[in-house]
Symmetry: C2
Subunit: 183 residues, 2 copies
């Protein structure tokens, strides 16, 4: 199996991606780095450019992951800026923005972008519908403690076996199907 790198500055994310891909028979190595991201309303564009930036740094086949929580009644907020918004107003801020708001529909979107050469990028996207909880559950990381996937009663932070249904697992499955077939 050829070398495959995962470029990220987020240790939580690497752990989760590694666990999922390893179960699918794909081994990855962390390339810890801060990647350049563009501002865009499109996660795909952000992920694509990030993958190209990652490849110029790693010079080996590499994947990056980009994801975002999109809340319907907030016009998609926090969307492509989920990470910055988590670091500033956090889950507390999201819950506050939705106080007394009935429509709590949201979706979590994940994109895996694979780059193995200059400007040659493959994208694998999945999204999972759900709802924002009324309070912050204990456990988990990121927005997990406030996102209840459709058909479940608990948030990502406490749902049994998150990988079975998560947006991240689903996009990684798409990627690994393609990647295993290719190699």
């Amino acid at each position: 199996m050829s070398d495959l790198y995962f470029a990220s500055s987020n240790a939580h994310k690497f752990e989760e991606v590694q666990r999922i891909l390893s179960n699918l028979g794909v081994n990855i190595t962390l390339f810890k780095t801060t990647l350049e991201e563009i501002q865009s309303d499109s996660l795909s564009k952000i992920a694509e450019r990030k993958a190209i930036d990652a490849y110029t740094k790693v010079q080996k086949p590499v994947i990056v992951e980009d994801d975002g929580l999109f809340i319907d009644s907030l016009d998609g907020f926090p969307g492509p800026y989920s990470s910055y918004i988590y670091d500033t107003i956090g889950n507390k801020g999201i819950i506050r923005l939705l106080e007394n708001i009935e429509s709590r529909d949201a979706k979590f979107v994940a994109i895996i972008a694979y780059c193995s050469g200059d400007n040659d990028v493959q994208l694998f996207e999945s999204s999972i519908p759900g709802k924002i909880s009324s309070s912050i559950e204990k456990g988990g990381w990121g927005y997990d403690p406030i996102f209840i996937p459709a058909g479940e009663s608990k948030t990502y932070a406490n749902v049994p076996n998150k990988d079975r249904l998560s947006h991240r697992a689903s996009s990684l499955k798409k990627f690994s199907d393609w990647f295993m077939h290719k190699h």
Copy 2:
């Protein structure tokens, strides 16, 4: 006087910048375009890269403006993503996030970035301290109706002669002092 362009997709902003610079003896022409922006916690970096992108498009001396509202108790939010966050949760969202929060200190920061050749950028920054109002005033645009500059009783939307004290006017003054001296 040589040609000077202002690259932006925001007509409100152009109008304000043109009015201020014209009073300072500098004429600008609008180059209406959407510029590529990077994601960064640093407004300066965003403005610098935006100016370089603008120059590659305009191929003439060009300025761009980037600004952001930084709220202390929200860890600088909405900061460098002020524009996206305004378009999604808006002033209503900001007021909601600060409900029952005593500390309402904030600052408005503006950066003018001038580029007249490849990778040659000059930055002019100003910031104005103030407070977030308890409700949204009528009038103005953007975050103006919720930002009360220090020493004033009304928001930017209704303060008499905003240009006399605004962050944008102040950074433009710095730019024009330098630009007039240079030419």
